[in-house]
């Protein structure tokens, strides 16, 4: 089974979205890649034409994080929040809120990351919790499509570039 086939998404109830995925690497390394700003910049990039301009994270409980991207024509997208829990290398939670200049206000979500190591591989679960069902469905429909896709969309193009560049 390829790693990407391990992607799973579920809606266990009205206010949660659960995303899970396996990575072929030990947990310590996955934790590092998902929490160190230098490494985050290397995979949470923007789509072509977008650049991750801010990647700051005060890695303390109560500390704030701030990610931002600048796109074509100076479009701005940011995600901010506060770290609620940090238990390396297994568990972290933080509040998250997307901000888009000129875009609709987006609600806050509580994101909890859990990493479990099994036989040298790491099983990741991200649980997104919303205040209400409407907020979840709204975030899923609008915030995700605009915010998340601005973040992740067409990254496979970048992947291909990175792949050919490393040869």
């Amino acid at each position: 089974m390829t790693v990407s086939e391990t992607f799973k998404l579920s809606l266990p109830d009205d206010t949660h979205i659960v995303v899970s995925r396996e990575f072929d690497a030990p947990r310590d390394l996955v934790w590092q890649a998902m929490t160190s700003s230098d490494l985050i910049r290397r995979w949470v990039a923007g789509p072509p034409g977008w650049e991750m301009t801010i990647c700051e994270d005060d890695r303390r409980v109560g500390g704030e994080f701030h990610w931002a991207w600048t796109g074509p024509d100076g479009m701005q997208l940011a995600m901010r929040g506060v770290n609620r829990e940090i238990v390396p290398p297994q568990r972290g939670s933080r509040t998250e809120r997307f901000e888009m200049v000129g875009g609709p206000p987006m609600g806050e979500q509580l994101a909890t990351l859990v990493l479990v190591e099994q036989g040298g591989r790491t099983h990741m679960t991200i649980t997104l919790e919303y205040d209400s069902k409407a907020a979840r469905d709204g975030a899923a429909a609008s915030g995700m499509e605009h915010g998340m896709s601005a973040n992740y969309a067409r990254l496979d193009e970048l992947l291909a570039q990175a792949g050919s560049g490393s040869k």
Binding site: V3, S4, F7, L9, L11, P12, D13, D14, V19, R21, F23, D24, A25, L29, V30, Q32, A33, M34, L39, R42, W43, V44, A45, K133, A134, D137, G138, A140, A141, M144, E145, M148, S149, N151, Y152, A153, R154, L155, D156, L158, L159, A162, G163
Partner: protein
């Protein structure tokens, strides 16, 4: 597909009994009695679940006026599935990038033995 339809679909799917009812109907139409059989709950309770599924547009009533069988309406489920697939398309490229990064980091951690040792 409207957000409202999607919400109604996911709300209807949030309950395990309703998912089981849909799984049964996916095999063919069934009467309320037939649907109630495998569950240890009252018929009024089953009827309430059926009403939720019907309002969400996931099931419809068949032609037989006597038995009033329920049938599955596949389109909203297909739409919900397409929505989930789009979600995957949004997340997965980032994760694949992370796969590559993890591979890079692991190969850095185990560098080849220094060439000098060969000579």
């Amino acid at each position: 597909m409207t957000d409202q339809q999607l919400s109604a679909t996911f709300a209807a799917l949030a309950d395990p009994t309703r998912r089981a009812i849909l799984a049964r109907l996916a095999q063919g139409e069934a009467s309320v009695n037939e649907l109630a059989e495998p569950f240890h709950i009252s018929q009024p309770a089953i009827s309430r679940h059926l009403k939720v599924l019907e309002r969400a547009g996931l099931i419809a009533r068949g032609r037989d006026a006597q038995k009033r069988p329920r049938t599955i309406v596949p389109q909203p489920l297909a739409d919900a599935s397409a929505w989930l697939e789009r979600y995957r398309e949004i997340w997965e490229p980032g994760f694949q990038r992370l796969d590559n990064l993890l591979k890079d980091l692991q190969s850095q951690e185990q560098p080849d033995a220094p060439r000098r040792a060969d000579s």
